[in-house]
Symmetry: C2
């Protein structure tokens, strides 16, 4: 299963918020500062530049307001790929949790995903907001966001995740 780089992400985020090593995840700033940065980033515009020979795959994309971007966590080390459990966001108060139950970028296959708002297309370039990738991340896939294909019923989330989401939402006010 070999991936092709179909494009590249360009933005002003040079450093990942978290770094993974043998001991798990480590936030590069304190938690509050990291949340603040994440917010700032989510309002910044990122460019997605698709390989020129693949420009046609974007035809019709501007009829969607939101798209799903799959990209490669190119800063995730081999050690990061072999982690199986972490304290989410490197926070010891959060339970030691299996990688599949977290949004950690360090995971066996660092295929990262964000749903972003599509602001415009010019040829092989897309402008989007809300993309929390770092600069130069390779693009793996783009899909339309179709709300009806996501759960319409109630959903349950782990308590630590609810706390993290609340922290993020509070930080945005």
């Amino acid at each position: 299963m070999k991936l092709r780089r179909i494009g590249i992400i360009k933005n002003r985020t040079e450093k990942p918020a978290m770094v993974s090593g043998r001991d798990g995840l480590e936030l590069q700033d304190d938690f509050d500062k990291a949340i603040e940065k994440l917010h700032k980033t989510s309002e910044d515009i990122s460019e997605i530049i698709i390989n020129e020979d693949l420009t046609a795959i974007l035809d019709g994309i501007d009829e969607f307001s939101h798209i799903i971007v799959l990209y490669w966590g190119h800063k995730v080390s081999e050690e990061g790929r072999s982690l199986t459990r972490v304290h989410p966001m490197g926070k010891k108060e959060f339970p030691f949790t299996g990688i599949a139950a977290t949004c950690s970028p360090a995971r066996p296959n660092p295929v990262l995903m964000t749903v972003v708002r599509l602001c415009g297309r010019k040829g092989n370039q897309l402008q989007v907001t809300g993309l929390d990738a770092i600069n130069e991340s390779p693009v793996i896939d783009i899909k339309p966001y179709v709300r009806e294909l996501f759960p319409q019923e109630d959903v349950m989330e782990a308590e630590w995740m609810q706390k993290a989401v609340k922290k993020f939402n509070d930080g945005s006010r």
Copy 2:
């Protein structure tokens, strides 16, 4: 960018609903029958069997009601990977559209994604419903579904997609 197979999907869906060739996508049944099948499949239980040495990545997953499954479209041919535009679902009435604006399994990187309901976990095995993968699909990643990370505002979708979704919803009654 090399993917590892972290597990495998087991279910009763043996044949893909669509096959891709040089000429684009072709539905294997007529449209109504395909929609009906898709429905049936979406109620069936699939098993996700994670490699035994990675069992720990699932710890804590059962605190989420829904998970995102990334899997590999292993039946997508090389020809399918080189398509850039298709008539969605092989339907000529739908506009000739860039792959990135469709949910076509045939795409440059056939990393397919479905949000499913998690019914249970037993060791390295998950039982889920709503997974429209075919039997023996390799699993690439599992992530928790966190509603707050998806658009909370209004979304816009292409007209043909709205029609397809409506057809699917009508079919379920």
